[in-house]
């Protein structure tokens, strides 16, 4: 199946249809350390937003008058933008109704927004800049050929015996299309492209050519070996994928949308026990030169944002319900942003620097960096970048996949400091009793009537539990008193629907636990 048929832009389709309350969620909020998690369980989902996503119309600089000057047609008025946690404004399309979504994930501590991600000397070619992003090499020199992905290099070196022996499960799975450069390495592709597990199984079995590789001493034999490896992978992995697909499940009714379906498939494969480390999904159409958005703040770009938010939200909800949420993080990549000044076709041309989203229970949620400074553009009229995109890769390799700075250096050919976007297992064991951050869980979350706050209290303590609205306004005090050591379970029953922060103060130390109430 053609990739684009799979991710078909069913523009007219309504995205969110399902209701949260039906699904048994057991969220862990706020998400804390995962020191017991084996490296082997960890999964990264890369969402490629091809075309160059307009960061200024994703996270809205709604308090910057300059934004409204340079975007007379396309700007999102402050009143229309969604204000989240008193900190940022999101495009309303990121908050689709009737589904768990990115706005809620931000409030629940599952989303990190990195402002101004880019690189030095931005290249405004889709293809070169995509190659720069996917290869992890920032080189605009057309003579420097970028032919391997940073994840391809990283995993090709970590898989034992690759490529002579293939691991039991594909290290990476790309949904749809032909295999991205991201997953290629000079030593061979580290993964497979997959569209339909049933078709793959039907067609893939028995495709092994039963021939050994040729010595790589000619151009012919190199291509022979390449095709042979793909045939071998088709044969071997078609069964593995089918097994995972058949034993996996989805517990959420996903929206009928091409991108969302890709996320649904990923969830089902993980649920079914596929031990791939990397999944890649694709959302194209961000090259919004023309008719990016209409007067009602709808249209192409809002549709894409809605798809993104719905896909991630529903995946997350499914992962929470099935208990694998702690194992998965995701990140968006897009080759560049758009020019701050809109063009005359209700669109925007290629620009530098954009917003990157990193999500999952394993992220340190929040906003990294400042709103873009629209009064200090480059000579080409573009945004200045705040974060080198490769620093996020360093986070992935060193923190998420448990690598070392040496891995970063060998993959990126440069030592880069991770931003610190993922949670690290804490080494603090000497905090004196009773005065430390606690692992406080709220369940169920979202909640329809009574939520329970639960944690293990090791010393006697004085406790206060206050409820705040997400914008910071005080609502009520739920509990106040002294407790003895033991398992603590405190009921919380907010009277109105909405998102709250439970501020649990234990011996003077504040622990903030977001909860969501759906009456």
């Amino acid at each position: 199946m053609k990739r684009r048929s799979f991710i078909a832009t069913t523009a007219a389709a309504t995205l969110g249809t399902q209701v949260l309350g039906n699904v048994p969620l057991h969220a862990y909020s706020p998400v804390r350390l995962m020191d017991t998690l084996a490296d082997d369980d960890r999964v990264l989902i890369v969402i490629q937003m091809f075309g160059g996503n307009d960061g200024l119309n994703t996270i809205i600089p709604a308090e910057d008058p300059e934004y409204y000057k340079i975007r007379p047609n396309l700007s999102i008025p402050q009143a229309v933008a969604k204000k989240v946690l008193s900190r940022i404004y999101m495009h309303p399309a990121l908050d689709p109704a009737g589904t768990y979504n990115l706005r809620m994930m931000m409030e629940d501590g599952r989303l990190a927004v990195i402002q101004g991600v880019g690189y030095e000397n931005p290249n405004l070619s889709h293809f070169r800049s995509t190659d720069i992003w996917l290869s992890g090499f920032n080189s605009s020199d057309p003579n420097k050929r970028l032919i391997e992905g940073w994840l391809g290099r990283y995993w090709a070196h970590r898989i034992q015996g690759f490529p002579e022996t293939l691991p039991d499960h594909p290290t990476a799975v790309q949904i749809g299309g032909t295999l991205s450069m991201l997953l290629q390495s000079q030593r061979g592709d580290i993964g497979i492209a997959l569209t339909d597990p049933d078709a793959f199984f039907r067609l893939g079995q028995g495709l092994s050519p039963d021939m050994q590789p040729l010595p790589e001493d000619s151009r012919y034999s190199k291509e022979f070996n390449f095709v042979r490896l793909v045939a071998e992978q088709s044969d071997r992995y078609s069964t593995v994928i089918k097994d995972a697909f058949d034993s996996g499940k989805n517990t959420v009714k996903y929206a009928d949308n091409g991108f969302v379906r890709q996320m649904q498939l990923v969830a089902r494969l993980i649920s079914g026990g596929l031990r791939s480390k990397v999944f890649m999904v694709y959302l194209g159409g961000f090259d919004t030169h023309v008719n990016q958005q209409n007067e009602d703040y709808e249209g192409l770009h809002p549709f894409l944002l809605e798809s993104l938010s719905t896909g991630i939200g529903q995946f997350m909800q499914d992962a929470l319900a099935q208990g694998f949420a702690d194992r998965v993080v995701g990140m968006t990549v897009s080759e560049f942003g758009r020019r701050p000044y809109e063009n005359g076709s209700w669109g925007t041309d290629h620009g530098a620097g954009s917003v990157q989203l990193v999500w999952g229970n394993g992220v340190k949620a929040g906003v990294y960096g400042n709103n873009p400074n629209l009064s200090d553009l480059t000579s080409n009229g573009d945004l200045r970048y705040q974060w080198d995109y490769r620093r996020v890769y360093a986070d992935v390799m060193e923190t998420w996949f448990g690598g070392t700075p040496d891995d970063t250096e060998s993959v990126l050919e440069e030592r880069l400091l991770p931003i610190g976007i993922f949670q690290r297992p804490s080494s603090v064991s000497d905090a004196f009793a009773g005065r430390q951050q606690l692992n406080i869980r709220a369940y169920p979350n979202p909640v329809t009537s009574t939520a329970t706050l639960e944690w293990e209290q090791t010393v006697p303590a004085s406790i206060k539990v206050e409820l705040y609205a997400m914008d910071g306004r005080y609502v009520e005090t739920v509990y106040k008193g002294r407790v003895q050591p033991g398992m603590m379970r405190l009921p919380v029953q907010p009277s109105q629907s909405g998102a709250y922060i439970c501020n649990v103060v234990v011996n003077g130390v504040s622990n903030q636990v977001p909860i969501r109430v759906l009456h």
Binding site: F127, D141, P215, R219, Y220, S234, S238
Partner: protein, 520 residues
């Protein structure tokens, strides 16, 4: 042990060296002309690379002739007559689906899909039956100057894409400049890259950027300022798409809206294009003096870049596509020939296809067949056709005139993935299975010495696979044909059409499993 297991163990037991004859790694030949009389292998190679798979009789008929002679003939005439129309739909007006009610909108879109499918089937049929290079070179240009059938939330109307096909076909051997000019004001291109929305004061940079980055020079030969100025030059051109829109030049053609053109002076690649007055702001004048002018500037101020960029594209498409292994000197030599011929495309193709480099053994079998080559080539070689070829090529990731993005198909190894390889194998299996006993008989009898089993198998392997295979593999294929019968029984098997057909299909199926079946 069943038969498959016997075959398998036979192949598994082979030492690596026994799977194929060693091919040379060192690529010695350059742009000098290949003057030796063509062998059968040479002729097969030439037809595989510049057409859609050889027919055996055509290849045999070229043996002994020179490359120069053959290539000149296969390129076709500069003024080849246009083909017969694929159907009345090409001149049918279409309504604008935007704003129409849902039922009408769906009906319009369905009709476009029907038209697109008809167009794709028609073109794939032409490719299958084309003994020349005409359709292959047209397909190359269509993949170079990209437009997509489906993009964003909209479509290029098939009627426009058909006209664009004719434009590429007409221009395929002419001058690079005139082709560039025709593309720049082509209705489908104006719509696809936003030119039709490009107006004075609010320029849309999309086409101006790709004209250089993807179509003529490649990266590194212009500034962002040149992109912006180029966009101003290109303001005002409009696509006539729907029956209710003004159509000064007829159905599905472009036209010039003078009021939308930026008449101010522009600076392009260091050259000033003077301002014009309202009185001199006509389609003809702007096309000649501004659009034509920036194309001329690109072909003079960036002559080397343009010639090298186009020569590299042609090289990757027809000769060898590994991005990490590019013979820069050879491409520079071909580019020089191209420039010296004042950017005449015929000269470029001829120099490329008659070079000793093109025929160098180090490049044989090193190219992955594109899905369209694979499908049309198999149809041509096996003498059968498949239903819905447009769907098959789409399932192999090459829908006709609908590449994934504006840079076109990435080519090279992206053609083969765990998504598409199983489809390729299944297509070969379907085509082979569909060969009737009679068609098998026709296939068999085209080989000289076909009554000698060993010579026949050698002939089929030479015809179906790109490089000679080892004796061990040849024996394996012989056993796939004879299925246990002694080879002296082959003539008597031939007397039984059903028995011979079954055995041929088994041989072809076995060959189709080899990795190098995907190569040419």
């Amino acid at each position: 042990m069943n038969r498959r297991a016997v075959f398998t163990s036979l192949l598994r037991g082979m030492r690596r060296e026994e799977l194929a004859d060693a091919q040379p790694m060192i690529l010695e030949a350059g742009a000098e002309e290949y003057t030796q009389p063509l062998t059968l292998d040479d002729a097969l190679h030439l037809l595989r690379r510049t057409g859609f798979g050889p027919s055996y009789t055509q290849a045999a008929s070229l043996v002994g002739r020179t490359a120069a002679d053959v290539v000149e003939e296969l390129l076709g005439d500069d003024n080849e007559p246009a083909p017969e129309s694929p159907g009345a739909w090409v001149d049918v007006w279409t309504e604008d689906p935007q704003g129409a009610d849902l039922a009408t909108r769906n009906q319009i879109l369905r009709q476009w899909d029907v038209n697109m499918s008809a167009f794709a089937k028609w073109w794939l049929g032409r490719m299958t039956n084309d003994p020349s290079m005409i359709e292959k070179i047209t397909l190359f240009w269509s993949g170079h100057w990209v437009t997509e059938y489906e993009f964003d939330e909209t479509h290029s109307i098939p009627q426009m894409l058909y006209r664009q096909y004719l434009m590429f076909r007409r221009n395929r051997l002419l001058n690079m400049r005139t082709m560039a000019l025709d593309v720049t004001t082509d209705a489908a291109m104006l719509y696809f890259l936003g030119g039709t929305f490009n107006s004075v004061g609010t320029a849309n940079e999309n086409y101006a950027r790709e004209l250089m980055e993807l179509f003529l020079t490649g990266l590194g030969w212009y500034t962002e300022g040149d992109v912006k100025e180029g966009a101003r030059v290109l303001t005002g051109w409009r696509t006539q798409m729907f029956s209710d829109a003004p159509a000064p030049n007829g159905k599905y053609e472009s036209w010039f809206d003078a009021a939308a053109h930026d008449i101010g002076a522009k600076q392009y690649l260091g050259v000033t294009i003077p301002a014009r007055t309202e009185d001199n702001n006509t389609a003809f004048q702007v096309r000649e003096e501004e659009v034509g002018r920036i194309i001329e500037i690109l072909h003079t101020a960036r002559a080397e870049a343009v010639s090298t960029f186009i020569a590299s594209k042609v090289y990757k498409y027809f000769v060898y596509s590994s991005p990490g292994d590019v013979p820069t000197q050879f491409i520079a030599d071909i580019a020089t020939t191209f420039r010296n011929a004042d950017f005449k495309l015929r000269a470029l193709f001829k120099a490329m296809f008659t070079s000793a480099h093109f025929f160098d053994p180090a490049l044989r079998g090193a190219q992955i067949k594109t899905p369209i080559e694979y499908l049309t080539g198999l149809q041509r070689q096996l003498g059968v056709t498949i239903a819905n070829p447009d769907v098959w090529v789409a399932n192999m990731d090459q829908p006709v005139m609908d590449p994934p993005n504006v840079s076109g198909w990435a080519g090279y190894r992206t053609w083969i993935s765990t998504n598409t390889y199983p489809v390729r194998r299944s297509l070969a299996a379907e085509l082979i299975k569909s060969m009737s006993d009679e068609q098998c008989g026709t296939f068999i009898s085209q080989f000289p010495d076909y009554t000698d089993a060993k010579k026949f198998v050698a002939g089929v392997v030479q015809f179906m696979l790109p490089v000679p295979v080892s004796q061990t593999r040849m024996d394996f294929y012989l056993s796939a044909l004879l299925q246990g019968a002694p080879d002296y029984d082959w003539p008597s098997i031939l007397a039984d059409e059903g028995a011979a057909g079954g055995r041929l299909r088994n041989l072809l199926t076995t060959i189709s499993k080899a990795p190098d079946f995907q190569l040419c």
